[in-house]
Symmetry: none
Subunit: 401 residues, 2 copies
């Protein structure tokens, strides 16, 4: 039995309110051996005070040694086994630009690319054309007509774009056209099962027509497609947890992920303060809130240790906006680590805090990597966060008699 | 491969003796933030002394956030994955009243209930009739005859009873007759597969005849059946662990659970001292002993913090009766937490102690929730307790060459 099935069987409703505050890429590393991480460097009197009346631990986003992308890392936070419930790259790409996929949509990632007179790919990124240029090309491709299918082509960043095919009976059992190396021809898209054959024909037709449109747009004179995916059919939070859940996020990708599990997306601003104020405004209307802070991750990826520290301090400064609402369960977590030292996501466990009336306190008085290790929750899979939150809001009945 | 299969492959016999002392609902919570739990409040010099020469940890009964009933919690203690090996509610009910189910028996839970002239259930609990009254009604129902099947109807508590059908070819693939709400008719029991059809006919016949018997017994003028279950076909401890195991328990439910995994049930008294003396008397005859102390859980469920503390102190006072026997492996564990603060079972991890010649000592010198967190075993699934005990008695050979 899948854990979600168990939770679905045991979950009940009540009037409690839960808040899951996610600082993207929260976990860090010190810049020198024996030094402090970003979180440990930050001056966080409010988080530390909260830690005193909370239970702490360290979460493994997926499993030991595995560095997750945003998709799987957030699925785990929401209680969905990220190994079982994979979101196709095309669907993730659509989510990333805020495209609201419908049931029948088929999405794929696009690279604008360069090919020569012999039909060989010479640059898989078309010289990294600007996002502006890419946007113009996407507009041109959006008017391509292929039988009864509606086509959306949307820019992502530089040479990257997303295509969404809207029609009936579209299958995502398709191979990529991207050969993944230069000096090779682009591949035909091949149906991976019988039912995908008509979709493959249609997609190849789109690619060929797109090539005509792009003929004089060197270096972006062709497109490569990969990661065909339909909208993921994820169990919905209202069914599994019986929760009326809302997401407060500034970035499209996280709104998309929240939407895939059935959260309502709330309008909010780009600052931390605005996001927390959105929580206050909507606190009566929902019983579960996911709040996503992006900047910790962005500065981690940039290698900006000091700026990541500042973002954490900004969260700390505004924390009372959340705690004053007295949610029954408050969790502060990260989806993964993004140490400025590595300039990338990493596999390191992530500091975790849970505050509720029923948590068994430990003696940890600081919210940081080294201190959270000594927390009563120990080191545990991020996949367990939702069942802990549900338990602490008394929303899970007993398993067995 | 199931873990039990692995253990079965690796287990050998020797002359060691193991004792698993289970304090039901051992784990607790403090009554106020930052205070002590029941176990931490109790004066336990002997347990603390034992902790100094033991390895400690915290067990998760099932998984994070899940609050278990007694059935699954004890299966985990005995090394049986409680998600895989579910014991049907009927069988658990029979175990709970000390009814020794035979291979062909089919058990179900009964609620005495009230229905009106339109055949609609108006009270699923027949006004919570007394256990005395229920006992009289059970006797009346025990004489109902249905074809070649022998029928036992036994009172549990108030409106709750158990029925056991003894015959050949009985199936438990049956739906419930209990509609789970008032204002509805009781349901016909329906066969969930082809082989269950004759059993369904027979059970419905029993229900109709029972209604005639109860016609003038308002408010208990009908019965609702649910949780049809045959005796669980669990692997037996003598096969998996090659152990000759005995159970010392005062309460029928735990004797029943022990019997399901093949333990012999020893006659004992109701006090802690009597249970420990039963161990002494039988110490030569078996190589594994499960001793069950119920009162910690009972007082936890009642919300009696001080009384739960007293029971723990009583265990501590009598501990020498066990330790003087010098078992090769001694475990002190709980099946789950039952904090007086919550007046119910809970999801919190449970303090755990293992003493043997081969355990790698940690520096924990007290047996309590906060201290056990710092034990060398860390936080681990209760399902791992048996393999740890087996290893510490040198009863598991090497896996692979």
């Amino acid at each position: 039995m899948d854990k979600l099935d168990l939770i679905k069987d045991l979950s009940i409703t009540n009037n409690t309110k839960m808040v899951m505050l996610v600082l993207d890429g929260l976990g860090g590393l010190s810049l020198e051996a024996g030094g402090k991480t970003e979180l440990e460097t930050a001056n966080t009197p409010n988080l530390d005070l909260l830690a005193e009346s909370s239970v702490l631990g360290m979460t493994d986003p997926i499993m030991a040694g595995i560095t997750p992308g945003s998709g799987p890392a957030h699925l785990a936070l929401f209680g969905y086994d990220p190994i079982k419930y994979a979101i196709g790259r095309g669907a993730l790409g659509a989510a990333g630009i805020g495209f609201n996929m419908q049931e029948n949509d088929l999405a794929a990632r696009i690279n604008f690319a360069t090919y020569d007179d012999n039909g060989l790919i010479t640059d898989r990124r078309a010289g990294r054309i600007t996002t502006d240029k890419s946007s113009q090309l996407c507009e041109l491709l959006s008017v391509v007509k292929v039988s009864n299918v509606k086509i959306f082509v949307k820019p992502v960043k530089e040479h990257r774009a997303v295509v969404i095919f809207r029609g009936s009976g579209l299958s995502d059992k398709l191979s990529d056209s991207d050969p993944q190396r230069t000096g090779a021809q682009a591949k035909e898209v091949v149906a991976l099962d019988e039912c995908a054959k008509t979709t493959a024909v249609l997609v190849n037709e789109f690619i060929h027509k797109a090539q005509s449109v792009l003929a004089d747009k060197h270096p972006a004179n062709t497109i490569l497609l990969r990661g065909f995916a339909r909208k993921p059919g994820l169990p919905q939070m209202k069914d599994v947890y019986k929760l009326n859940a809302a997401a407060i996020a500034g970035y499209p990708m996280y709104k998309g992920l929240a939407q895939f599990v059935g959260m309502e997306i709330l309008q909010t601003g780009q600052t931390i303060r605005e996001e927390f104020e959105t929580l206050k405004t909507n606190f009566d209307k929902f019983n579960f809130f996911f709040i996503h802070i992006k900047a910790t991750d962005s500065f981690g990826e940039d290698g900006s240790f000091a700026k990541k520290v500042k973002v954490i301090e900004e969260v700390d400064k505004n924390l009372a906006l959340i705690t004053d609402l007295k949610p029954d369960v408050l969790v502060i977590a990260g989806d993964h680590s993004t140490p400025a030292f590595l300039k990338s996501h990493s596999w390191h466990p992530v500091p975790f805090l849970l505050h509720s009336k029923y948590c068994r306190l430990d003696d940890v008085k600081h919210f940081g990597e080294t201190s959270c290790l000594k927390g009563a929750l120990g080191r545990f899979p991020a996949l367990d966060i939702m069942s802990l939150m549900m338990a602490n809001s008394l929303r899970l009945t007993k398993y067995g008699a």
